[in-house]
């Protein structure tokens, strides 16, 4: 039983009319894993998540969630899932606490169970002081934490988070990451989508990179970086409009972007020294560790966040 994947997909397809949002993907997510979908907007991440959350049915391919078929057992599967959608759909007519207790009732919890569960989750989401507030005045970060708390109300086997920190300020993101990390440490299986590479690196044990409805790469954040990038990247900016790409040849792989040139190198400082030795004078130089952003750029030729 523990060996059975929580999510199993083969050739999964989702079409809307003539538009193919998900174009034949294979997936397996094991219990306890933190799994991520990384990709730009429109890559098919949310459509995949909606199929996994058994709200939308696949157009083609095979899908098993918790070993069950969503077409037949959608309600039974959803009873064991926690879903945090991309846009908060908290209930504006209910208080913070009622949003949790009301939601608990949909899962068949009794009134008393719902109340005690709401208390635990208000603590977890650090919203105890806001318990009787309406939802509207909450900050973006608080709403997100409440939505995540709501997703945990049934003590789910699998938690699905669609872009959990999109649109939040850095402080709110870090607090959220810390909460999600706690969940992960407790052994909760997390599946999330993101177009932030730092989020994927922080939270995911394993991820797939999606583009145009397909999976273009798969692995741990580290292994993806090792496979598709170099340990370090030098970002060079030049004040004048001269094409420097040719003058940098031989130092390392080059990616000329509209505003800067990326230079992939095993040793960033050595690459910078070589740039200077060639008599080139960039207006700014940044040596940094390679990231999933670079992996994505390498795989698709585009940046993640445009």
């Amino acid at each position: 039983m523990s060996e059975q994947p929580l999510i199993y997909a083969r050739g999964l397809v989702k079409r809307f009319g003539d538009f193919t949002a998900v174009d034949g993907i294979d997936l397996e997510v094991a219990p306890g894993e933190a799994f991520g979908f990384l990709g730009p907007n429109g890559a098919g991440k949310s459509s995949t998540m909606r199929m996994i959350s058994c709200v939308s049915l696949p157009t083609g391919g095979e899908l098993r969630i918790l070993g069950l078929d969503p077409a037949r057992d959608g309600s039974r599967i959803r009873a064991r899932l926690g879903v945090c959608p991309q846009l908060d759909n908290l209930d504006p007519d209910l208080s913070v606490r009622e949003n949790l207790t009301t939601y608990a009732r949909y899962f068949g919890l009794s009134k008393a169970q719902a109340r005690s569960r709401a208390d635990e989750l208000l603590d977890f989401a650090q919203l105890q002081e806001k318990a009787s507030s309406a939802v509207e005045p909450l900050s973006g970060g608080m709403k997100r934490r409440l939505t995540i708390a709501r997703a945990l109300v049934n003590d789910p086997d699998l938690v699905l988070l669609d872009e959990p920190t999109t649109g939040l300020d850095p402080q709110a993101r870090h607090l959220l990451w810390e909460r999600l990390f706690r969940l992960k440490q407790r052994g909760t299986t997390l599946v999330l989508t993101t177009h932030y590479m730092d989020e994927a690196e922080q939270l995911c044990d394993r991820l797939v990179v999606m583009d145009g409805g397909r999976i273009v790469a798969e692995g741990s954040p580290r292994s993806l970086i090792e496979t598709y990038s170099t340990p370090e990247v030098v970002e060079l900016r030049f004040a004048d409009g001269v094409d420097y790409a040719g003058k940098l040849e031989g130092i390392g792989r080059i990616d000329p972007l509209p505003d800067r040139i990326l230079l992939y190198a095993d040793d960033g400082d050595a690459a910078v020294a070589e740039v200077h030795r060639r008599g080139l004078t960039p207006s700014s130089v940044l040596v940094r560790r390679s990231s999933l952003e670079d992996v994505f750029l390498q795989l698709t030729g585009r940046t993640l966040v445009d």
């Binding site: 504006p92 209910l94 949909y106 899962f107 309406a134």
Partner: protein, 267 residues
């Protein structure tokens, strides 16, 4: 057939949870209560102004059976049917539409074990609560004014529930088709036309013959005839026909609404 059987596998606890959400929303503030109270008074005001006020000029009215009743006795059951209709429609149109389209409440609910059909049933049941509070209070007013007897009031009450089911079901169905708030103007106009021309203020037999046929297919006419028959104790087999119309209307509306929730939100 298979889908009907699957749809019938509904969980009372999940339907209860859908109703429970609406009970919770009652506590959100006084604005909802204001709407609730004003909705009740509208038909009461019509009863007093037209039924009693204009009724003083009209005098008595002869029913097809030959029985003679006060004009107010004739109008009151129609206003009772109207209050069942407006109570159910208010919940299943404005509020339902808001939850479906704007606040994404149903979207959140559909991520839980609750099924589209269970949402539709729960919302209809809630609409029925509002509708029956209106009609229950209205019947008390009617008894107090001597426009019906307590016995016939008790007989008419279940009929008003059926009227609530019929209009609640269709109200939800219409809401799932609404594109935006501007469409509600049409609904309001339609509702007002039904209110005026469903044998509410004058017997349909007094309408031009062709128009009488048109009225006979519209829903409030059947609601008024059924409720009036019971409230003034004019029983006849025809009442069963009116009841059957309302049963079909409610069931069709409910099934259609559930299907539309599924098709618009589960994609």
């Amino acid at each position: 057939m298979v889908t009907t059987m699957l749809a019938a596998r509904i969980s009372p606890s999940r339907v209860g949870a859908v109703i429970n959400r609406n009970v919770g929303a009652l506590r959100s503030g006084p604005s909802y209560w204001l709407v609730l109270v004003s909705g009740f008074f509208e038909p009461v005001l019509y009863l007093l102004s037209i039924g009693v006020g204009v009724g003083a000029l009209v005098g008595e009215l002869r029913l097809p059976s030959g029985r003679v009743v006060e004009y107010a006795e004739f109008v009151a059951p129609a206003m009772l049917a109207v209050s069942a209709m407006s109570g159910a429609l208010a919940e299943t149109t404005f509020n339902f539409f808001f939850k479906m389209k704007y606040s994404k409440t149903f979207e959140a609910v559909l991520a839980t074990p609750v099924k589209p059909f269970e949402i539709a049933v729960g919302e209809l049941a809630w609409a029925l609560v509002r509708s029956s509070v209106y009609t229950g209070a209205f019947l008390v007013v009617m008894v107090a004014l001597g426009l019906t007897s307590p016995g016939w009031a008790l007989a008419a009450f279940p009929a008003t529930l059926l009227v609530g089911v019929a209009f609640g079901g269709v109200g939800m169905a219409i809401s799932t088709l609404m594109r935006g708030w501007q469409d509600f103007d049409m609904l309001t106009t339609g509702q007002f036309a039904l209110f005026l021309f469903s044998g509410t203020f004058s017997p349909v037999q007094d309408y031009p013959a062709a128009f009488e046929v048109v009225v006979a297919v519209t829903p409030l006419f059947h609601a008024v005839e059924l409720v009036r028959g019971l409230a003034i104790g004019e029983l006849g087999w025809g009442l069963l026909g009116h009841a059957a119309y309302l049963v079909v209307m409610g069931a069709a509306g409910l099934a259609f609404a559930a299907r539309r929730i599924q098709r618009t939100l589960c994609v």
